[in-house]
Amino acid sequence: MSAFLALLSRDLRLAVRQGGALGTALGFYMLVVTLLPLGLGADLNLLSRIAPGVLWIALLLAALLSLGRVFSSDYEDGTLDVLATGRLPMELVVGAKALAHWISTGIPLALMAPVLGLLLNLELSAYPLLFGTMLAGTPAISFIGAVGAALTLRAYRGGLLIALLVLPLYVPTLIFGMAAINGLLGASGTMSAFLILIALSLASVVLCPLAAAAALRLQMQ
């Protein structure tokens, strides 16, 4: 456990020291949300109706930006080789790194979403819900994304390839994330989509490290 925590805290510390990655992701997030009303026309009613979807899609894209570096920096400087000689199974190495990505990128993006909601004329009452569903859905984004990052570690054209591999796999997260907000906001007030979203995140936390670890082991030969 101490090895897991050591790795987690090292990755978080690096994220803070390097700083740039988070700033870029947040800036990108803001920019996409700004561009969409410019492209769609600034009809406030339309915007408030599509706001949850816009915020989710922009968040997916912003998270995707920072995913490429999750394993590649450790691969390039030889750290991954040494991590593999630890007592921590590769699955937990992946888990620690994906968790660090969630904490350092997923949570800040989720925190940012309500602020951007202002730009999209989203009702104030929706903010806690929006933040809550994003908090519930972003682990799936980090962990599914980790699989894509692991698969493309040694691929040329890594960045674009990750998007092609991972975005189709984000479809359930997107749909249930949207449905969760609509369900909670709507008159029905149904929780089912929100619960499914949580289940999706939990399942990806458990299953994705298996695939990512297998992919990493193959590439360390």
Partner: protein, 282 residues
């Protein structure tokens, strides 16, 4: 011949089945039937004799199916003549999913059993599956225009087939962007397995929205709801397309095995050139 070593040890008298670009080295009587079928050389012999028959059967069945679909099947009482698109749309849609299942099974065979033919099968099937998925989308949209009045609706089934198409594209893109072919095979296999786990979840999520599509009508409890006059041509076409896919898959696998043999030969030539250079230097 052997490299220098400190302590001699006898070579293990075990036949190792492993993935390689070449056929297995030697065969003993202890091999099981599946191992023997796994031998690419054996596969080449078998497929050479089977392929013409499968291809011929596919041509005959599809020909008969086309005759049925155009000259025997009556127009649908609701959709009229356009229902004839169903006879090619449904087989393509069926193959789009069946081929992905074959890829997933082959991937499993490669990763778990290191079956030497499994990767050849997976690699050969991906472009074929992508093509059938593409055809399912195009024919579906051409069917949708007269029926729904629009080329595309965001209905659950169409959307899942579209995402399936993206998964196929991902498999092709990943394989083509990794230089080491053995590594590319295994990573693509992992992606294919991730895909097969995600597909039902994607389907389920997409179903969360409303569906305009007609509910599954061929296979369902209580018997098919399609009129037999339409069902017979549909089934004939489905069988024909499946046979055609089998023939194409066999041919693509044969090509892939030959391509790998060519690579092995090229490599052998490089090594030989190196050796003669070395001998000349000494």
């Amino acid at each position: 011949m052997q490299q220098g070593y400190l302590l001699a040890s006898a070579g293990l008298p075990v036949v190792h089945l492993r993935f390689s670009a070449q056929p297995l080295r030697s065969f003993s009587m202890t091999q099981t039937l599946t191992q023997r079928l796994a031998n690419p050389t054996r596969f080449m012999e078998l497929s050479a004799s089977v392929l013409p028959w499968v291809a011929g059967a596919a041509a005959l069945v599809i020909g008969y199916g086309l005759y049925l679909s155009f000259f025997v099947a009556p127009p649908d009482y609701l959709q009229g003549e356009t229902a004839r698109i169903m006879f090619i749309h449904v087989p393509c849609a069926w193959l789009s999913m069946a081929v992905y299942a074959i890829i997933a099974m082959s991937s499993f065979g490669l990763l778990v059993f290191r079956h030497p033919l499994a990767d050849v099968s997976a690699k050969a099937a991906v472009p074929l599956g992508a093509a059938f998925t593409f055809l399912a989308l195009v024919t579906g949209s051409l069917w949708g225009r007269p029926t729904w009045g629009t080329y595309w609706v965001w209905d659950a089934r169409l959307t899942s087939v579209l995402i399936l198409f993206f998964l196929y594209l991902g498999l092709m893109a990943l394989r083509s962007s990794i230089e080491d072919e053995a590594l590319a095979s295994k990573l693509t296999a992992i992606l294919a397995l991730v895909g097969i786990v995600m597909l039902p979840i994607i389907k389920f999520s997409v179903n969360f929205g409303n569906t305009l599509h007609q509910p599954a009508s061929v296979i369902r409890a209580g018997g098919p709801t399609i009129d037999t006059a339409l069902l017979v041509p549909l089934l004939v076409m489905a069988v024909g397309f499946t046979l055609m896919f089998v023939a194409m898959h066999l041919k693509a696998m044969r090509n892939e095995i030959m391509r790998r043999r060519v690579k092995a030969l090229q490599l052998a030539e490089v090594e030989r050139a190196q050796a003669s250079q070395l001998a000349a230097a000494e």
